[in-house]
């Protein structure tokens, strides 16, 4: 199955490579798989066709932040859960709120998170998110103490099945739940981009 690769052969190889790779693979990485140089368009077409070939299966080919990968569809999760009843632990609200501040307002310092949440941020929380590979230090703020600036990682996006930060759910409109309907229109000076 060497040199003059046709589309079907490329798809056949891509399928095996993607099914056996432990992480998502970028277009550049997938290109490296082939001895002959394949065009981006050709490769993308092969991937799109492969994705469509798997349309009706319980596994799907998706494009996330760090590339293409196969993953199970949510509908088979109950079956998988019966096999492995152990699930990753749910994070506490404190963790999720910290993550939300970092995700939506990055880059932020721990102090920024504390200002918004109104409570001190336990360092265990930051460590848990770092260990999960969801946040990382991207720099330091040039103020006294040079606090670390946190941002979310590609893996965060990838683990949440997203390609980019812009695919995060839009921030809830300020005060929708709190402000009586009539005053809502007055308050919303800035349209939320969603």
């Amino acid at each position: 199955m060497q040199n003059p690769l046709n589309l079907d052969e490329v798809k056949r190889v891509l399928e095996a490579v993607l099914l056996s790779s432990s992480g998502a693979l970028s277009l550049a990485e997938l290109k490296r798989v082939f001895e002959v140089e394949l065009g981006n368009d050709f490769l993308r077409r092969a991937l799109e066709e492969l994705k469509s070939d798997w349309r009706d299966r319980a596994v799907e080919l998706v494009l996330v932040a760090d590339g293409w990968r196969f993953q199970t569809r949510p509908e088979v999760q109950p079956y998988l859960d019966r096999l492995n009843p152990e699930k990753p632990p749910r994070y506490s609200r404190a963790v999720m709120e910290t993550l939300a501040v970092i995700a939506y307002r990055q880059p932020v310092t721990r102090g920024d998170v504390e200002d918004i949440r109104g409570v001190a941020v336990n360092s265990q929380i930051v460590r848990a998110l770092e260990e999960r590979g969801w946040i990382e230090v991207v720099g330091h703020k040039e103020v006294p103490g040079r606090p670390a600036l946190f941002a979310t990682t590609k893996q965060f996006l990838s683990d949440l099945n997203l390609r980019a930060l812009s695919e995060l759910p839009p921030l809830p409109e300020l005060a929708r739940d709190l402000i009586p309907q009539e005053s809502l229109e007055d308050a919303a000076e800035v349209p939320w981009s969603g």
Partner: protein, 278 residues
């Protein structure tokens, strides 16, 4: 780890659940709070901080967040904080800071305001509090939204099927120049430059020494003339002869001739009996 993991789902407990702590819908008591004593600890766990507690109080009391009744809010908030302190619950300092802030806002609102600034909402002592409450509410909802996104490992699995490692174990590759480098390293380490000089010529001699030894080992002994292959050319004959002489000199091969003009044999050297290992 209780800070990190969602233990007992306490974080998601709505106040309705809290009410059940004592089987009473105390959350519906609008103004005069009755706080079931055991509920306080749950409250501490259920609220993420003073902002969270304030938001709940505002909602429970149907206060307009943009026009907060500061005295009602402050009174209720302080009642909670005092109750918690009374029970000697470990109260985060932020709760006390917030109490002080509420009291300050309340007192500033009692002061007469300069008339022309009345319409300037920036001067409303509550403005900063409202901004923070709104921002926090937004964060809370955003966090909930993030938590509902499908998550790898929880709602779907990524794949990584087995790759059989049946391909032969990869062996180190060695290039001729690596040998040269290795030899160079030996020379550098020991000062043996003078003793182990080897050129191409000597190398061919050594190659023939190996060849002759192999031949004799297989054949046991061999006729002298069999050790040479005239087809290889004159220089090859010379080198083969040098190789044989070297083998004899190194006492690796014995040359035997039973009588003058009889065939000459070469054989693997036999050590003197006293040299044999036991």
């Amino acid at each position: 780890m209780s800070e990190v993991l969602d233990s007992a789902e306490a974080a998601e407990v709505e106040i309705r659940h809290l009410a059940r702590v004592q089987g009473e819908l105390w959350s519906e008591l609008p103004n005069d709070l009755y706080i079931p004593p055991d509920a306080l600890e749950v409250i501490l766990e259920a609220f993420e901080g003073p902002l969270d507690l304030l938001l709940w109080l505002i909602r429970r009391n149907s206060l307009n967040i943009l026009d907060i009744n500061m005295s009602a809010l402050t009174r209720q908030y302080i009642e909670y904080v005092e109750a918690m302190q009374h029970k000697r619950l470990e109260l985060a300092a932020e709760y006390l800071v917030m109490a002080a802030m509420l009291i300050e806002i309340k007192s500033r609102m009692l002061l007469p305001r300069p008339e022309k600034a009345v319409e300037d909402e920036g001067l409303d002592p509550r403005a900063e509090l409202v901004r923070r409450l709104l921002e926090y509410e937004q964060t809370k909802l955003a966090a909930r939204g993030l938590g509902e996104l499908p998550q790898a490992g929880r709602d779907f699995l990524t794949l990584s099927i087995h790759i059989p490692q049946l391909a032969a174990k990869r062996l180190p590759r060695v290039a001729p120049d690596d040998l040269l480098a290795a030899w160079g390293a030996i020379l550098k380490r020991a000062s043996m430059t003078k003793h182990h000089r080897i050129g191409r010529q000597e190398l061919s001699v050594r190659e023939h020494m190996s060849r002759i030894l192999k031949h004799l080992r297989e054949a046991g002994r061999g006729q002298f003339s069999d050790l040479f292959d005239p087809a290889q050319g004159r220089s090859s004959l010379v080198v083969s002869f040098l190789a044989l002489l070297e083998l004899v000199r190194e006492r690796l091969v014995d040359i035997v001739q039973n009588e003058p003009f009889a065939p000459i044999y070469a054989q693997i050297a036999v050590a003197a009996e006293h040299a044999e290992p036991a």
